[in-house]
């Protein structure tokens, strides 16, 4: 590294600690604070899984999918179908059915994502206005199809017995499922980073994010690459939907539209296109949501909007914006 090279920008990475430090005195009791913080980290991990695909697809192709929320719902419903047939009982079967539910959601959402990308998004590459309009249309259609297929009542999606209950350390109780979600979220984050930094596909994606025309000029079909990224993004949304559905113990056709708001806040805060920023943004949003939800429940969402405003005032392009664009 030459002396003139940029030092790694660590300040944004400290923001979750700052938020936690500010909130701690207001919350008072330590067990409550720890419980809330662990809950936030789990929620943040789930939000990250839902948001990461969206931000990646935007970074690569400048495509913002307003129907991303619908894929979250599709994933949750795919999981309800798996759980209908899955055997219950031992730890092994519970784990197997959980993995099967995640896989089913990823496959179904990946497939729907392929059709969606080819039919709706491919014709409007590079035109933001049309993209927003057509993906809004797509989200309506998917949500209504879910209502037509599964009915208007929310479906039960309780976590399997192995994930229920809590681990107790002294006065601090931590729900098992939250640890599962947190672990899976961190795992996916590390996997994504590894794929992006260590594989050929990842290299192409990073190159495409930096300079799309140049990658095309070198002879790579970036639209095909994008279709693959979009399918992965949809699959991630579906996995996130399973995690969130199990967390809420239900699958609703409207859940995606509700979550999309948080997902947008996450990727705006993180910086559009940045995976690390997305992880930080998700953690921040979840921390604020849980602390505010405890201190002033009615203002939780408003606090997140204020967080977004504060971050944008500080860094107009988000915490970790992409360089050259």
């Amino acid at each position: 590294m030459t002396p003139g090279a940029r030092r790694p920008d660590l300040l944004p990475a400290l923001t979750p600690l700052i938020v936690a430090a500010i909130a701690a005195p207001f919350i008072g009791s330590l067990p409550t604070f720890v419980t809330l913080t662990v809950a936030s980290l789990a929620m943040g991990a789930m939000l990250f899984v839902m948001a990461s695909g969206l931000t990646l697809a935007f970074g690569l192709m400048d495509v913002l999918n307003f129907g991303h929320g619908a894929f979250i719902a599709v994933g949750a419903f795919a999981a309800t179908v798996v759980y209908q047939f899955a055997p219950h009982g031992s730890l092994a079967t519970d784990l197997a059915s959980f993995v099967a539910a995640l896989a089913a959601a990823a496959v179904v959402c990946g497939f729907v994502g392929y059709v969606y990308e080819r039919l709706l998004i491919a014709p409007v590459y590079g035109r933001h206005l049309e993209q927003i309009l057509i993906t809004i249309g797509g989200s309506i259609v998917i949500e209504q199809l879910l209502l037509a297929l599964f009915g208007t009542e929310p479906l039960d999606l309780s976590p399997p017995a192995a994930f229920r209950g809590a681990l107790v350390f002294g006065q601090i109780a931590v729900e098992k499922y939250r640890l599962v979600a947190l672990g899976l979220g961190v795992l996916l984050y590390v996997l994504l980073l590894l794929v992006l930094s260590r594989t050929r596909i990842g290299l192409l994606i990073r190159a495409g994010v930096e300079n799309r025309e140049m990658v095309e000029a070198l002879g790579y079909r970036i639209d095909r690459l994008f279709t693959a990224v979009f399918m992965a993004a949809s699959a991630l949304a579906g996995v996130g939907g399973v995690l969130w559905g199990l967390y809420q113990s239900q699958a609703r056709a409207g859940m995606g539209a509700d979550l999309l708001v948080l997902v947008f806040i996450v990727i705006i805060i993180g910086g559009l296109g940045s995976v690390t920023g997305c992880f930080l943004g998700a953690t921040l949003v979840a921390l604020i949501a849980n602390y505010a939800g405890f201190l002033a429940p009615k203002l939780a969402l408003v606090c997140n909007i204020l967080l977004m405003v504060a971050v944008l005032l500080w860094r107009p392009r988000g915490l970790y914006p992409l360089g050259a664009k």
């Binding site: 913002l64 206005l129 057509i134 199809l145 037509a148 208007t152 708001v261 909007i305 405003v309 107009p316």
Partner: protein, 354 residues
Amino acid sequence: MRLLSGDPPRGWPARALVVLVALALAATPLLFHGAKPLEVAEKICVMAALAASYDVLLGYTGIVSFAHVMFFGVGAYGVGLASYALGPGWGAMALGLAGGLALSAALALAIGLFSLRVQAIFFAMVTLAVAYAFNVLASQLPDLTGGEDGRSFRVPELLRPGHHFGHWLGTAVTGRTLTYYLVLAGAAALFLVLLRIVNSPFGRVLQAIRENPLRAEALGYRIVFHRTLAVIVTALVAAFVGGLDAMWLRYVGPDTALSFSIQIDVLVIVVIGGRGTLYGAVVGAAVFVIAENYLRALIGAAATATADLPLLPNLLHPDRWLLWLGVLFILAVRFAPRGIVGELQRRHDEGRRS
């Protein structure tokens, strides 16, 4: 012509369509009896004015806002809550409207300054989040807004259904009739103001920014300033329309004033009617509201006819009306981006050139 700011719909088919809608709206209380046609006509007036103001953003300035209905709701809540708190009266309504307008302008300024600085696509995301938070906030403050239930309120004596002015052409003229004409006149006036705005130098700059932001900026027009001003002006119009609608409904609540589905309706109306034409909003609103009220029954009939087949009755259930609307919307964006009025005008223009 002066009234239309020298910008009438081009070509007789588009012109005839707009005139037909306007005449039908003006004559509804005389032509039809009963409450339903008047409800439908009022909805068309409100949606036409609301969609026209949205078109200034979407069609003329080229930015997508999801908070437009929030401003509509602010105006509606202003009139509703003031009338509820201060008792029925013209003064209360005016005060509420003024408050709603002021809050709308302030919110629009804040949103515009924060989110239009960086990228236009931010604006769509930020407005979505803000509008959603506002909706949640309105339903979680029951002491102020009536929460999920909303607030029913009373209007001035003159506007009540029980107030009879007498008979004209065999129709009873009541306070409702007067209210309807107030809404119609208000909506028409706002529409003409919008038409004036898009044909003013300011409106031309908006279109220049839509076509080529870099070039507009190079010519010395500040993009953020013009876009933000467009958001504020259209927010004011939306709030005004919201006040008119609240006066008609004598009720404000999240479902009638802030719901995201109204935002989708407005989006669909502008796209199907024709972006960037203003008249498209009028035609689109008429088509949409009539379809919403009368085609639902038709879809329902199709569902009963296919009751024995699998899945199809579910897809044709009247509550799945949005599904077909979504499909129609996608097809419109993809294959008829000019919308009804835009398409009619294009045909006329091509006919004249050849």
